[in-house]
Symmetry: C2
Subunit: 379 residues, 2 copies
């Protein structure tokens, strides 16, 4: 398996690097952020520059709750929200607060490759769960719960990385119930929850907060700007004290105080909601372009399901192919993708690959897929 | 022991809360930050708004290296620096990368109370070391190394919290040597390193990077603005790969990308260096006022050594007194302090208390000390 930990950024070399799950520069509303930053730094309460409320400033949490309500998370409340440095930081933090090395974490197998690294960093034992078009298969989950007594279940609930699939609403409700019954924590990574193309994603796990031990992870990285490093956890009253008991959070006073005020301004002005609406259209258009390009170039070499939201296509090649072996030839052909086994706890799905349509515009997406065809044909 | 984890902010109630180790609002250069933020958001490279280099952007690290060189850390190099979210985040991160639950961490006993909480959160066993006016006593350290086989030594090397004392240069060199000989990590918290009043602090641990297993922790929280949540680790070439292998850091791409660009602007413009110079004078003046007020009000009730830098006075009361018992009466008298046993791994120093002169101006410091006298007299 290739080293999954080398940081890669679209645009750092000549490649059209469809491996990287980041927004392209033109998806980031720089002008809006400049205005928001100027206003935030001029208008923020004086204490904003000092240590802040470890949970995140009330003004940020109130604006975020209103925004989430407007996006259909009707029960979002300022008291249930906790400022994070984005979903990966939040996931590591959840592990800090709720797990011990040696604990079992259940994941969709396939899942976010760096989540797997985070769990390894924490000494957790990762158990992969099978999934179908509606997400995690419940009989297998129940079996895994009984066999492994997990401490944590990590799910990318909507438009998942890497599969693009969403967990059906009824399964969310059942997973919440099971988490209470069997005393484990559900970390629901909803980085892509709001990035639907037409039909909204199934109901956020935030609707099941009190039905189970749910921590709902949201982020502005995919819908505003990753560089701000602002995200949130939404949790029940029962779980919040565990977050607030962290020594380093208390000491620092809030992970990213000033950036949260910039986001607050974007929320209060309605700019975030407007931007999100534009973003959905742009991503939908890019997904459509990638779908056409794939059909035109790879229909004899691969199968896939067109995603209904998020950032990714997940392609299945012939069973004889290990996509790890294609990374170097692809790189020589100036195209990048993420090999399937990156996303598996158990090295499954070696004949899959992940493509992001977020990091490049339509012309580059078309060119990238053409290059990929050349690589696959020559293999 | 009182709950050490309640977040307290100067100005959140009627008290003059000399417990809190934060800068007062007027010590934070709001205008300078407004200008820097505007420039940073307008001039930053486009990728600044996206995921960044996990180590921190080269432009930030280069500006920081130059600044540190200018402050006497003559060997500071961009390649040795790593962006953090401030020293407490950095300390937790160091624990993540270098310790396992059950490992032993050595600390000065007394030390930063939330560092103790961070170590407890990580399941570490804390062993306190005695200190004299020159910091950690080496014979006791050597004994502790042999007895406990520590994984980590945490020291607040200069103008320490809570004692105000500094570790002598020769001891730093010897501790570096011992860390290599006995294979443990030194986390040198230098939050106050640059905050001398007259004579600079002993040489930063950054000068001993390659002599031992040293991680040098610096932060802009005490010298610019805590709300930015920007700090740094300085480490040798040998240790850097361990930091960069973190899943969540790789995933996020840098803990606090945009805020680091704001700081970069302050560094590049020379504004940080100028502000630091003013800050030293202000803190020195406040320390002098606190020293006078203590002499006038508490000379019969307490003993102390006037600090030569940093944020804190560390007062010893009669052996019969437990300063924990004074917190409530002091709060009723509208004054706050931090009880001595907060700072001890083993509940030592119950007859001590910590006062910060950073969070209030001179008039409030004088009033606060007068109130404290009333409380102590009535006890």
């Amino acid at each position: 398996m290739s080293d999954p930990l080398k940081f890669e950024r679209a645009g750092d070399d000549e490649r059209i690097n469809l491996a990287v799950g980041q927004p392209s520069i033109d998806l980031i509303p720089k002008k809006m952020l400049q205005t928001a930053a100027a206003r935030a730094f001029n208008n923020a309460p004086e204490h904003a520059f000092n240590y802040g409320d470890p949970q995140g400033e009330p003004i940020f949490r109130a604006a975020l709750a209103l925004f989430l309500q407007g996006q259909g998370q009707t029960n979002a409340r300022a008291e249930s929200l906790f400022l994070t440095g984005g979903n990966s930081q939040a996931l590591d933090f959840v592990c800090e607060r709720f797990t011990q090395p040696g604990d079992v974490v259940l994941v969709e197998d396939s899942t976010y490759f760096l989540a797997l690294q985070i769990f390894k960093d924490r000494g957790l034992n990762i158990v992969g769960l099978p999934y179908d078009a509606d997400g995690i298969e419940l009989p297998a989950l129940i079996n895994a719960i009984e066999t492994h007594k997990p401490r944590l279940l990590y799910t990318i609930a909507s438009f998942a990385n890497p599969t693009g699939l969403s967990l059906a609403e009824a399964r969310r409700a059942e997973i919440a119930r099971l988490s209470k019954q069997h005393d484990f924590i559900v970390a629901a990574d909803e980085a892509y929850q709001l990035l639907h193309f037409e039909k909204p994603a199934p109901k956020s796990f935030s609707h099941f907060l009190t039905d189970g031990n749910i921590l709902c992870l949201g982020t502005f990285s995919k819908i505003l700007a990753p560089g701000l490093r602002v995200g949130w956890l939404e949790v029940s009253e029962a779980l919040m004290p565990r977050l607030l008991a962290s020594g380093w959070v208390n000491s620092g006073g809030a992970i990213n105080q000033m950036a949260s005020f910039i986001v607050t301004d974007c929320l209060q002005q309605g700019a975030q909601a407007l931007h999100l609406s534009t973003l959905r259209h742009t991503l939908a258009a890019r997904a459509a372009v990638m779908q056409s390009a794939l059909k035109a170039n790879l229909s004899e070499l691969a199968t896939w399901t067109a995603p209904e939201g998020g950032y990714f296509f997940w392609l299945r090649l012939a069973d004889s192919i290990n996509t790890d072996d294609l990374v170097a030839p692809a790189s020589r052909a100036s195209v990048g993708f993420q090999p399937g086994n990156f996303s598996s706890a158990n090295g499954h799905h070696p004949n899959y690959l992940r493509l992001s349509f977020a990091a490049y515009g339509v012309t580059e997406i078309e060119t990238g897929i053409q290059r990929l065809r050349t690589v696959l044909r020559q293999h």
